[in-house]
């Protein structure tokens, strides 16, 4: 074997994957994440750092466009995997093996690279680009009740977060008064729909000054499937949400633990003691409490006003309260507790903008992760 083949094989052995979930594709995502962990392949948070793009479930038309934009951001050598919503582990393993082989296929990667070079760099006035469909949604938008921001409408940039204005004709950021009465640049930055540890299909169009959210609009990009998710029990869903919140909070070890417990519970292993111990460990973390308390407070009045149900309604308070609440519910579900009322994703989407305005970007992500709406149960709008 030549040196080059050895190097290629070595490089393609453990590729980094960027996992995209679609509404209704959560079951597939769980299988994919478990298989990735079993192989020791790392999931990364950015398509730019990835070798393999894994799409879980069937995206709807608009979400598929967004995924195309993300795919264009994956640097070569690259490979793409699409798994169906109800996929089994063997099929995922085969698809990932195929991706690894594709990465090691030098002529194929050369051809892909040549094609991309021939297509030229991305430009804002490229009519064939999917970006225009996204950015256009923000054109001239003005929100009632935010009179101070009246002069910021008509921005031309936006679109996917990876392209806040490439060189060549993109409009400059406009300015508006901020909360302290200073003139500051206004950026329109969409969070999602393709973002790691983010509710599948959710797009929050943020108006940012610095990293403070001035305005938030919520939209849903649907999946093409039937929207039925096989979670394999309420405890699995809660542990998944817990893992996601801990990952967004930057606590990688605890997030990984939550996911291992989630997959064990899903496989039918009795993990009541371990979940209990894990809940205590997370609850003891002063750093975590210091970082998440006081964020995204939902009081009882808000529960009434927005018609909230589920965790957000039963555990009113901040992100920390909802995290603790999820642990309680997960343990109850593991103990064979009675069925409880599920979250109403539509109500969560209604309350979301009011929680995000005034929050910093990091806090906004924690707030969304603490609510974690399952949009497979939500009809598409926006």
């Amino acid at each position: 074997m030549g040196l080059r083949e050895r190097l290629v094989r070595f490089a393609a052995e453990r590729p980094r994957s960027f996992v995209v979930a679609t509404p209704g594709g959560a079951g597939a995502r769980l299988v994919v994440e478990e298989e990735l962990r079993r192989r020791g392949w790392r999931a990364v948070a950015s398509p730019v750092g990835a070798d393999v793009l894994v799409v879980c479930g069937e995206p709807g038309a608009e979400l598929a466009q967004a995924i195309e934009v993300v795919w264009a951001d994956v640097p070569g050598p690259r490979a793409r995997v699409q798994v169906a919503a109800g996929v089994r582990r063997e099929a995922v393993a085969r698809a990932l093996d195929g991706a690894a082989a594709e990465l090691a296929d030098v002529p194929r990667q050369w051809a892909d690279a040549a094609e991309r070079v021939a297509a030229g760099p991305w430009t804002p006035d490229d009519s064939g680009d999917e970006m225009s469909g996204h950015g256009g949604g923000h054109g001239g938008h003005e929100q009632g009740g935010h009179a101070a921001h009246g002069d910021m409408g008509g921005d031309g940039d936006g679109g996917h977060e990876h392209h806040m204005g490439a060189p060549g004709g993109v409009a400059m950021a406009e300015r508006a008064d901020d909360r302290d009465g200073l003139k500051l640049d206004v950026l329109h930055v969409p969070l999602g729909p393709v973002l790691s540890d983010w509710p599948a299909g959710l797009r929050v169009s943020l108006t940012l000054q610095g990293d403070v959210v001035q305005d938030a609009e919520v939209g849903v990009l649907g999946g093409a499937g039937d929207g039925v998710v096989e979670w394999g029990g309420l405890a699995v869903a809660h542990l998944d949400s817990i893992g996601r919140l801990l990952a967004v909070a930057g606590w990688a070890a605890a997030a990984e633990r939550a996911r291992i417990l989630r997959d064990d519970v899903r496989a039918g292993v009795d993990r009541r003691v371990e979940v209990e111990r894990f809940a205590r460990q997370v609850g003891r973390s002063r750093t975590l409490r210091w970082m998440i308390r006081g964020l995204g407070v939902i009081d009882r009045a808000a529960v009434e006003r927005y018609g909230l149900t589920g965790v957000a309604a039963r555990y009113p308070g901040d992100v920390a309260d909802r995290l603790a609440g999820r642990f309680v519910e997960a343990r109850k579900a593991l103990g064979g507790g009675a069925d409880v009322e599920l979250d109403d994703p539509a109500a969560l989407l209604r309350v979301l903008p009011s929680l995000l305005v005034g929050a910093e970007l990091a806090a906004a992500r924690l707030i969304v992760a603490s609510l974690d709406p399952d949009l497979a149960r939500e009809p598409v709008h926006g």
Partner: protein, 213 residues
């Protein structure tokens, strides 16, 4: 020829170049998330740099020198880590912060899909990450002459002890990497200025009195 007699000042000055580098990487990619990541690092710098400088000054005061070699020799018999524990802890914290490592990794945070480095691929990312690892290793190595008695130790030669001690400090920092939630500066800033700065000042006062007395 580097002015070794002011080695500590050099170390501090060069380490601040990291601020510029990370911010320029974040700003230069012309993308919202990296920009926010770059600014996060500036805020982090405001939080850690003053306690970090006071920790370095405390050491220089204790050794009555700014030369790393002199500082290491001044610890003959009693390592600085023993009678300057606050300065040592603050130094370790600031190493994590300057290499935006583990709990201080918010500038390249998961919530920003990689923050300042989000858009870097291929060789760009390699250079950036190599620089970051180098920063972590150099800062760990600097802890050895500053607090851990330099090459002092039984049996082994000095260079071997310096390597072993560097390795131990580095191992500690790597171990802590994923084991704490990320620390956000909007919350940490208060602690840095209200707790860490006074704590390092008190430590410096104690060292100053001992040196004079």
């Amino acid at each position: 020829m580097l002015p070794w007699s002011i080695g500590v000042v050099w170390f501090n000055a060069m380490e601040v170049v990291a601020w510029v580098s990370v911010w320029m990487v974040g700003w230069g990619t012309n993308s919202a998330f990296p920009l926010v990541g770059g600014y996060r690092f500036l805020a982090q710098g405001l939080a850690y740099e003053l306690p970090h400088m006071f920790a370095l000054i405390t050491v220089a005061l204790g050794a009555e020198s700014l030369d790393f070699g002199e500082i290491a020799r001044a610890q003959d018999g009693l390592w600085f880590v023993v009678w300057m524990p606050v300065a040592f802890l603050v130094y370790l914290l600031s190493v994590l912060a300057m290499a935006f490592w583990g709990p201080f990794g918010h500038p390249v945070g998961h919530d920003l899909a990689g923050g300042a480095v989000l858009e870097l691929a291929g060789p760009d990312r390699l250079v950036f990450e190599a620089g970051r690892y180098a920063l972590l290793v150099v800062a760990s190595a600097a802890a050895v002459p500053l607090f851990l008695g330099g090459g002092a130790g039984p049996l082994l030669p000095g260079w071997a002890w310096a390597l072993v001690k560097t390795y131990l400090v580095l191992a500690l920092l790597v171990w802590v990497r994923h084991r704490l939630p990320v620390i956000r500066m909007d919350r940490f800033m208060t602690a840095a200025w209200v707790v860490l700065i006074p704590a390092t000042l008190v430590q410096m006062l104690v060292v100053g009195i001992v040196v004079l007395g």
